[in-house]
């Protein structure tokens, strides 16, 4: 219903700027940033907030308040952001499927949300080859989310190779924490 209203307003040329743009990338990031950046802002107290229809349009394109807080809510699966791998493995293990599905669903329901997936490896071997291995992990998570209905342009998969370990040790205990993909949402990177 809301989407139809926006589309109509866009077509009528009533809404200018962000809401009607064909390049949603930038505005989405800005939108999420606004929210996380000003946690104490009181929209109702700001006289300017009620002025231009343009602002309303940006608000509509943002993730709804309930889902944004779900990203941080420790009781929500969406607050779980790391997928761990076995040695030399790149496929998402069954125990992480529901996590990937939940994030894919979030992206599907929040078309303006943007995500970066950072693939990581343990410290062994060539740094650059490890960048390649980390990329294979993040690409795999991205592919799965796209199959689950997220849009390709919502997700950027990158690799940090072995450069950002979660654990500093030099044994399998540490390495198993470092072979992972991390999920970040727009505004978090």
């Amino acid at each position: 219903m809301r989407a139809i209203l926006i589309a109509t307003l866009c077509a009528a040329g009533l809404l200018l700027g962000a809401g009607c743009s064909t390049t949603p990338e930038d505005q989405a990031a800005a939108g999420v940033e606004d929210r996380t950046g000003k946690p104490g802002a009181k929209p109702g107290a700001d006289t300017r907030a009620v002025q231009p229809p343009k602002v309303a349009a940006v608000d509509v394109s943002k993730p709804s308040a309930s889902s944004v807080s779900a990203l941080k809510d420790p009781n929500s699966v969406l607050s779980k952001r790391s997928i761990y791998y076995d040695l030399d493995k790149f496929d998402v293990k069954d125990e992480f499927r529901s996590l990937v599905e939940a994030h894919a669903k979030y992206l599907r329901e929040n078309p303006s949300a943007r995500m970066m997936i950072q693939g990581n490896t343990d410290e062994r071997g060539s740094r650059e080859y490890n960048v390649g291995l980390g990329q294979r992990r993040s690409d795999g998570v991205k592919r799965m989310m796209v199959l689950l209905g997220a849009r390709e342009n919502q997700i950027e998969s990158v690799s940090l190779g072995e450069e950002k370990p979660q654990a500093d040790g030099h044994d399998e205990g540490a390495w198993s924490k470092n072979r992972r993909s991390d999920i970040l949402y727009g505004g978090e990177y």
Binding site: E128, V131, H170
Partner: protein, 426 residues
Amino acid sequence: MPNLVRTLIGLALLVAVAQARAQLEIIVTDPGAQRSPIAVVPFAGEAAVGSSLTQIVRADLERSGLFRGVEVPPLAPPPTENTPVNYGEWRSRLADALVLGSVVTRPDGRFEVRFRVYDIVKQAPLGAIAYVFTKENARAAAHRVADFVYEKITGEKGVFSTQIAYVVRRGAAFELQIADADGERSQYLLRSNEPIISPVWSPEGRRIAYVSFESKKPVVYVHHLEDRRRQVVASFRGSNSAPAWAPDGKTLAVVLSVDGGSQLFLLNADGSGARRRISNSNSIDTEPRFSSDGKWIYFTSDRGGSPQVYRMPSGGGEPQRVTFEGSYNVSPRPSPDGRVLAYVTRNAGKFQVALLDLSNRQVQVITDSDRDESPSFAPNGRMILLATVIGGRGVLSAVSADGRIKQRLPFAGGDVREPAWGPFIE
């Protein structure tokens, strides 16, 4: 008078500190290795420079692993490049080669070092030259002297005047630094709270390409050493990494994930123009390196199931597999003369540097540590600089191409990694 004493003590301390830092641990692993004895007589008048040129020259020559300094008693009057040489006398001091010289202060305040190199065994002068330098550049002048001596005796160019680049990590802070080949005179180019990897020198030595994670993903930069200008050359969607310079200095090979996976591309080093994809696989293709004649690109690929070294024509084309022994062969670095390939191989869980003779396919593992990374040839091909881990700390070490001489470079504090040996500077 007490002031003078204090100054002298201060100077002595400074010199002592400088020497301690310059101290290189040199391990000659092959007891049969012949090191040629050379007498580098303190240059007459070098005290005026404030640092001992001949000490630096001798340290350089010893660091090459080819020379051993002969102790010379104080001679009166101090000989210079013009003093006639009594070959028999130097032979009896067990020197095979001799360097005599002097330093004079010029009217403009700069110094001039003049010196001559002799072959004591053949009883013949090998050459003489003079260099003019300022006090601040005394170390550089000494490296020049060592390069000249080295070249006259071995017939090969010396690398003492070259520079190295490397990354130092202290806690969460990363620095890309450059220093003289002996680890002295270090300075940083980039300081960041995110990792920096894969620095590579441009062929003319005025630019360094590297990968920085400062924007939460790998992005390739080119850094201009003269004006410290830095330029983003690859920041496509996804990861951008593993830069390598073509010998013309105009083209960079990089690895991009913009099309999915990790594939090789060529870019203009000035950031202009479009990217050209040169590999086409479902595998990881990475760590490109041009052969010095520019004809080939060596790279790492796991297209055969395990990471191995391949090469392809530099414009793109059918890749050929290069390494066959073992299940993990990465980080290929063709030697400057194109005859040998250095790479990292995994041997029973240990990562070591191996050399492959490209003409007869012989493989030789030349290190005995277990976490070697990022080998880098000296521009004369004699030594290979690499990163390793000793006592839990990242350090740089160097190994001669025949594996007989091993050195550790001294750095105070932090983890040192990702070494890259710079080119000859004219």
